[in-house]
């Protein structure tokens, strides 16, 4: 029974956070592009054109984030009353890691499409980019949640006790 309660909580948090994320997402997009303004001059000596407007395409791109499912998983998991400080730190760390992954995939994406990478560089960077974008969206939130909550969460422990 507990598993269904957990999934219901997860679904509710997912929906609420998704709706809350919509107005935030353009700012998050800007935040993920900002490091490129100093990373590109540092590595390649060029300043990329990162003009950002809240047009629909930029919005849709930014809206695809894995922070929402990560937060929903963390909020849906029991144990907040007992260890809320630890949970807050885990959420902070998780968001930071997801942000770094997002910056990394943006860096690779701009490098491949705008700087003009060589064939050898493309052969190295393209699979990495696909991995970060396509699998990272699903894998990273689940992986971080399992890493943070697996050992001390009753929601995940119940099957071990039985």
């Amino acid at each position: 029974m507990k598993i269904w309660v957990f999934l219901l909580r997860f679904f509710l948090f997912l929906t609420i956070l998704f709706l809350l994320w919509i107005p935030v997402s353009p700012y998050y997009t800007y935040l993920t592009l900002w490091p490129l303004t100093w990373l590109f001059p540092l590595f390649f000596g060029i300043k990329p054109d990162l003009s950002f407007s809240s047009s629909s395409s930029a919005f849709w791109e930014s809206a695809f984030t894995n922070i929402v499912p990560f937060l929903a998983l963390m909020f849906a998991t029991y144990g907040w009353r007992v260890q809320w400080k630890k949970r807050l730190w885990q959420i902070f760390l998780g968001i930071l890691l997801l942000y770094i992954f997002r910056v990394a995939d943006r860096f690779l994406g701009y490098w491949l499409t705008r700087v003009g990478a060589t064939d050898a560089q493309i052969a190295f960077a393209e699979p990495l980019l696909y991995f970060l974008i396509q699998l990272g969206k699903i894998l990273f939130p689940i992986l971080l949640w399992l890493l943070f909550c697996f050992k001390d969460s009753p929601a995940l422990l119940w099957f071990r006790e039985k």
Binding site: I3, L7, I142
Partner: protein
């Protein structure tokens, strides 16, 4: 990463999956009575063109689910059943998602974009987590084996009055 690499470099397999997804979802819409035309990895239904890209096949959700199940300590046959069963359920859910998208797209393009965003990333993660937890609860159950009737339980040790208190 191994599963991802397999499908990343095996382009033929991914394309075949895209074509199959387009064929099946287009076929279901045709059976339901909607004028549908399937062309390779895309199909159009009542003026709505739908292109099946690798993400639309549910492949990445299956890779993530299979990776978690395979990495988790459990009996091999339960892992195999978990991967096959989970993959089939995720494929079915993905088909349902595509059908819903096509039906909504016929009414409103804007709503289709929203539902695509919501159903594509978020709800599929919910299903991956849900399936994993359900599999875990099953995989952790002991095998159905009747214990010998006379064997005393090792865990339950009778307490004696002399036992020192901790």
């Amino acid at each position: 990463m191994g599963l991802f690499a397999l499908f990343y470099f095996w382009k033929g397999g991914t394309q075949a999956l895209q074509r199959l997804t387009a064929l099946v979802s287009g076929g279901i819409l045709k059976i339901l009575g909607f004028p549908t035309e399937v062309n390779g990895t895309s199909y159009s239904v009542s003026g709505v063109a739908i292109q099946i890209i690798p993400e639309c096949t549910g492949l990445y959700e299956i890779i993530v689910f299979a990776s978690i199940v395979l990495a988790f300590p459990a009996q091999l046959f339960r892992k195999i059943i978990g991967v096959i069963g989970g993959a089939l359920i995720l494929i079915l859910l993905n088909l349902v998602r595509l059908l819903i998208l096509a039906l909504v797209g016929m009414r409103s393009r804007e709503w289709m974009d929203w539902i695509h965003l919501y159903l594509w990333q978020l709800t599929l993660i919910l299903f991956v987590v849900g399936l994993f937890l359900l599999w875990l609860s099953w995989a952790r159950k002991p095998m159905a084996k009747a214990p010998p009737p006379s064997s005393p339980s090792l865990k339950e040790k009778p307490k004696t009055p002399d036992e020192p208190k901790k």
